[in-house]
């Protein structure tokens, strides 16, 4: 075990995957010589050379499209989109090409590509550099979407995504890059579609992912002071998501809160709530409560952004609401 930062764990996963498989390549704006806008790809150019680690022009559309063509021709490309907000420029390649090729061509071949992108606020980056748009991608049949919350999963989900034969979107919360955590000397891959229970409790279940896991754990600690024991589920994968884990927890606690930094309306939480209102109907002893951002773009000023992002107090209030 050693203590590393979240971004370093991703770097190690990229490095290990590239060392293990010469068909893995890295494409992105400023990923090679500058080492990535958040330093995640630092040192990879020196290790693997300019053929496999490539600085690209500011051209998200061709980057994603080229990854599709490269993946159909024997490579396993990893594309970095500098901020998730810029995925808008790559949507055709992801939605109409990568997601559909395996199905649309009658399972003739696969598109083993990974697209990494940081989401989320907390650094006052404003409306076009702070969004959490994962629901768009999770809505598209053919894409897989993961979002790690811990250092171990930052490594493990990145390795799993690269090894997967389908297009996988890896969403990294930019506020997590500098967080430290334990990483084993020979770290394990994290299985896709499996949640983990970050905290055990029997009074209510909070389902969340990414940077909100830590916020939910803070809320759980506060609630524990007043005798409420909440279970916190870290989804890890958003598409596919581990409904059996959530259902199992609900069968124990009978109360459900779904929390994410993304806008609440039409979000990942809406899907989880709808599914549990159906499959888990008999288990529910209270309303399913969602905690997400209000239906406004992420604002810039610190006072506004602090108001905008869900915090522990909002989660505590949501738990109390479903318990009351």
């Amino acid at each position: 075990m050693s203590e590393v930062r979240f971004g370093q764990a991703i770097n190690r996963a990229l490095s290990d995957a590239m060392a293990a498989d010469p068909s893995v390549i890295l494409l992105g704006e400023d990923v090679a010589r500058p080492g990535g806008p958040f330093g995640v790809t630092r040192g990879l150019l020196e290790k693997f050379g300019p053929e496999r680690v490539r600085d690209t022009p500011i051209s998200e559309a061709v980057l994603a499209g080229a990854a599709v063509g490269a993946a159909m021709t024997g490579l396993r490309p990893i594309v970095e989109i500098m901020f998730m907000d810029f995925v808008t420029l790559a949507m055709d390649a992801l939605v109409n090409q990568a997601a559909k090729a395996h199905f649309m061509f009658g399972a003739q071949g696969s598109v083993p590509m990974v697209v990494r992108m940081p989401h989320g606020g907390g650094i006052n980056a404003g409306p076009q550099h702070s969004q959490c748009l994962e629901a768009w991608l999770a809505h598209v049949p053919g894409l897989k979407v993961v979002c790690p919350a811990t250092v171990a999963d930052a490594y493990g989900l990145t390795r799993t995504a690269i090894a997967d034969d389908d297009p996988v979107i890896v969403i990294e919360h930019k506020a997590l890059y500098a967080k430290k955590g334990e990483l084993s000397e020979s770290p394990a891959a994290t299985p896709l579609g499996r949640a983990c229970i970050a905290r055990r409790g029997q009074d209510a279940t909070i389902v969340t992912y990414g940077a909100m896991v830590a916020v939910a754990l803070t809320a759980a600690d506060e609630l524990a002071h007043s005798g409420v024991q909440t279970e916190v589920i870290d989804l890890r994968s958003l598409q596919p998501w581990d409904d059996s884990c959530v259902l199992g927890s609900l069968a124990k606690t009978h109360r459900l809160i779904v929390c994410h930094e993304a806008v609440e309306a039409f979000g990942v939480g809406a899907e989880i709530a709808a599914r549990m209102a159906d499959a888990g109907f008999d288990e529910l002893d209270g309303p399913i409560v969602r905690v997400g951002a209000p239906f406004v773009p992420p604002p810039f000023a610190k006072t506004l952004e602090d108001w905008y992002r869900p915090d522990a107090a909002k989660i505590v209030a949501a738990v109390n609401k479903t318990l009351s």
Partner: protein
């Protein structure tokens, strides 16, 4: 020219004619079947543009990769797709190339590098660029080819693709089928530039040929491919051609002048190729025999497609991912 050379030239011309006739016969049949309601959805025919797909395909090796577009029947057939599975797919049958999930706009055969027709204008360019990057990094000597219409010049991803391909010296041939129409509007009303100036803007090698002269297209494509395979980077091959049919079947083309359509008919690449064959000593019965053989092949493919079973809905859910998921929806 020695006798042997002349024979070989005639032999090559006959092969080009045969390939064009196959595309033409297939598409004329598709048009009729569509009009009769036997083919669902949309089809876009490339009648009048066969010299482009056939001339370029003649310059390719089997494992070169090809990205196509919505008007892609000619590219697919010229690349060597099996007729039966092609027709089965366009009919929406289980044994089609895509198991009935794609149809005319998504026919693909990855085993021979045909990376798919495409319903999104301009999308094939970026796919070809990525495929070319894979060829280059894998050192296989293969090249990638993409066919796009002049209408795609207005798409942003086209410019990103040209820039990246030239910047990275990628082995990709950009074939612009310049038929003058962007769906229902003259391209002149949509484009502020033209393919030659555009290529020059990216410092890219560009060729410009009469796209209805199959010999000229094949010769230009061979030159371009040789240069690309030698590692000199991408090339743009503009083929000036004419779209005979509407944007899609069922489009009455009321927006086109009769003179424009008449000119398209006069410059028909098959008629021109036939005349060349006759002028170089091929007898008409030889051509008639080829036509009859091809008609038979298409008859057989259509019969097979009609007899094919439609896909069952249960078959659709299994291939959204490479391994069926255990969890979630």
């Amino acid at each position: 020219m020695s006798l042997t050379d002349a024979q070989s030239t005639t032999g090559q011309l006959l092969e080009l004619y045969r390939a064009m006739r196959l595309v033409r016969e297939a598409e004329e049949r598709l048009g009729a079947l569509f009009a009769d309601g036997e083919i669902p959805g949309f089809i876009h025919l490339s009648i009048g543009q066969e010299a482009v797909s056939v001339g370029v395909a003649a310059a390719l090796e089997k494992h070169d990769t090809l990205a196509s577009n919505h008007r892609g029947h000619g590219h697919a057939i010229a690349k060597g797709l099996e007729l039966d599975r092609f027709f089965l797919e366009v009919f929406g049958k289980q044994d089609g190339y895509c198991r009935g999930r794609g149809g005319s706009m998504h026919v693909a055969d990855l085993s021979i590098g045909m990376l798919g027709a495409n319903g999104i204008v301009g999308a094939g360019l970026s796919i070809a660029v990525g495929s070319a990057l894979a060829h280059k990094l894998r050192g296989t000597g293969q090249i990638a080819v993409v066919f796009f219409g002049d209408g795609a010049i207005a798409e942003g991803v086209l410019h990103e693709s040209l820039n990246l391909a030239q910047l990275w010296t990628l082995p990709v041939l950009f074939v612009c089928e310049n038929n003058g129409w962007s769906e229902f509007t003259e391209s002149a009303r949509q484009l502020a530039t033209d393919p030659q100036r555009m290529a020059a803007a990216y410092k890219m090698c560009a060729l410009n040929v009469d796209g209805n002269d199959v010999v000229a297209v094949a010769a230009a494509a061979r030159n371009a491919v040789a240069q690309i395979r030698a590692g000199e980077g991408p090339c743009l091959l503009e083929c000036r051609t004419k779209r005979v049919r509407g944007h899609f079947e069922g489009d009455a083309q009321k927006y086109r002048d009769a003179s424009d359509l008449a000119m398209a008919a006069r410059s028909d690449p098959l008629t021109r190729c036939e005349a060349q064959l006759i002028a170089t000593g091929t007898r008409q019965p030889v051509i008639d025999k080829i036509n009859a053989e091809i008609k038979k092949r298409i008859d057989a493919a259509v019969a097979a497609a009609r007899a094919g079973a439609p896909p069952a809905p249960a078959d659709a859910v299994v291939d959204v991912y490479t391994v069926s998921r255990e969890l979630s929806s």
